[in-house]
Symmetry: C2
Subunit: 319 residues, 2 copies
């Protein structure tokens, strides 16, 4: 299988420069000095998540006449906003299929970017998206199962390697695996001594089980939907799984309580509003699940419903 290369990622970085924020690394003053921690705050991207990198790269690579027919995507949230935002930047139509249980804040944001949102039953979104491609003639932009999307997400890793070449540990969430595939590829190419760790919720740890088994193991939608980390309920594809096997040094899990605590720490100590899915890398750091060393934790997104944010904060300030 053809894996994404560092050259693909470099080319993606040139394409996304006009729309993606070049996020800084933020040193966490509250971290253990023996394990210095830097945060890569992808919640500061225009759509509130790293997904703009992959979506914009995928659209930018399309031939203009093809792109003009519009795009279709299915997503529980952040990829939807990313495709909507990128489509608006190109002035082309976007149809986005979202499951009915998607947080309202993500549905509204997607509509606000001018996309047509098509709600569907949980678990049916890929079928509905295929029907829309048939009907509209648009191009399907998958949330992670595409080399151009993976290369786009990898640009975050390129930036990490540039800003902190001495990094020893890079840690990020794993859901469909696009982010980890891309960043892992960049880090292994440019910081070959650094180790790369993925993080999943315990309640959606299909990728961990798959890596241990050496082949993809599927968890039911019902099981994966138990976690509050609504952005981490997907499973790797054949393509991303091949990348994960190649670039990950380990995959650890965090509990729901550990995720909530990480959201509180990021709010009160790093001044960032982060969604549960975006906080799992910091949760893994806080629980000591990853080895000691100069660490970068990718904080992948900030699109949390106001009610859930308040509910999580109401447990009180972290120690």
């Amino acid at each position: 299988m053809q894996l994404v290369t560092i050259d693909d990622i470099r080319a993606a970085a040139d394409r996304i420069r006009p729309v993606a924020v070049r996020t800084p690394l933020l040193q966490a003053p509250w971290a253990d000095p023996e394990r210095p921690l830097w945060i890569k705050p992808e919640n500061l991207q225009p759509i509130g998540a790293f997904k703009i990198r992959g979506a914009f790269n995928a659209l930018a690579k399309l031939d203009e006449p093809v792109r003009a027919r519009g795009v279709v995507a299915y997503s529980s949230g952040n990829h939807a906003q990313a495709v909507a935002y990128a489509a608006r930047a190109y002035g082309i139509p976007a149809h986005i299929v979202m499951p009915e249980d998607t947080p309202a804040v993500k549905i509204e944001a997607t509509r606000a970017y001018g996309a047509e949102v098509v709600l569907c039953e949980v678990g049916k979104r890929e079928v509905v998206a295929d029907e829309l491609v048939e009907k509209t003639g648009g191009v399907l932009v998958p949330p992670f199962d595409h080399p151009d999307v993976i290369a786009g997400q990898g640009t975050a890793g390129l930036e990490i390697s540039h800003d902190l070449p001495e990094v020893e540990i890079v840690v990020m969430p794993v859901s469909g695996g696009g982010l980890a595939s891309g960043i892992g590829t960049a880090i292994k190419a440019l910081c070959p001594n650094a180790r790369v760790y993925g993080v999943e919720p315990e309640l959606a740890a299909d990728a961990q089980e798959s890596l241990q088994a050496g082949h993809r193991v599927s968890w039911s939608v019902e099981d994966r939907n138990r976690t509050i980390a609504d952005g981490l309920r997907s499973q790797p594809s054949e393509l991303t799984f091949a990348h994960l096997q190649h670039v990950l040094d380990g995959l650890v899990t965090v509990t729901e309580d550990e995720i909530r605590e990480a959201v509180r720490v990021l709010a009160h100590k790093s001044h960032l509003v982060v969604e549960p899915s975006g906080a799992v890398s910091v949760a893994a750091y806080l629980k000591g699940a990853i080895p000691a060393g100069t660490t970068v934790a990718v904080v992948s997104g900030g699109n949390i419903n106001p009610e859930m944010f308040q509910e999580i904060l109401s447990a009180g300030a972290p120690a």
Copy 2:
């Protein structure tokens, strides 16, 4: 009177590079398209506020034998943390005088950076700081009344002019006036067509009254302490007032409710935890108090007590 120059600010930028974050401009997708808004998120600095720029520049400019005797500062909060952080970076002692009513989160953070905190009665901090200078032989680093501090704060303006040369409006909080003096100087030098606006709470609007009167007008400590924006309770010095007269195109005020709403908007729509003092520039934008145009709002800090943050969010999500 000798005002700070763009060359002073350029030199400061070289000095602070190792410690200050090069904060990106974040376009606010929720802004009125007729008045595009970019946020300069200084709450992401290591100490959670822009103050690290001025404090570090002031320490960096001291001769080594002088600096080795240590530093003294008085501050209601963010300058305290900034001096403590900068002193630790140089491995020198820091004594910080803070009024007794300083938010606990700021006192704790200052101690965490290794500084000795000396609590004093409200209104007595300058006297107590002078005594400490006498006793320790350390150098006083004032929160705003010093050219090196002003030049350091101005580096944020240098970055704005580089990242968005077409900026038409730059808006930022005014308290002692160091930030506005520095940024205003940079913007007027590098983006001469841009207009520069300061913002104060209505309850601490001494600088607005002073600019209208053409000379400094003092408000009582009791009056200024009414605002929840605890970082905006100082008054300009002769030096900063001269800068403000030179660089500001206007000074507008915001109410306490408008400040609270801006904190909510920044949390829920821009994924940033911002203290009331840091949110006044966005409050002024939201109320339409500044002219239309491509706008940069400097969000100056994020050190808010967890209890106050929750209390402000409890009013519900912004429209």
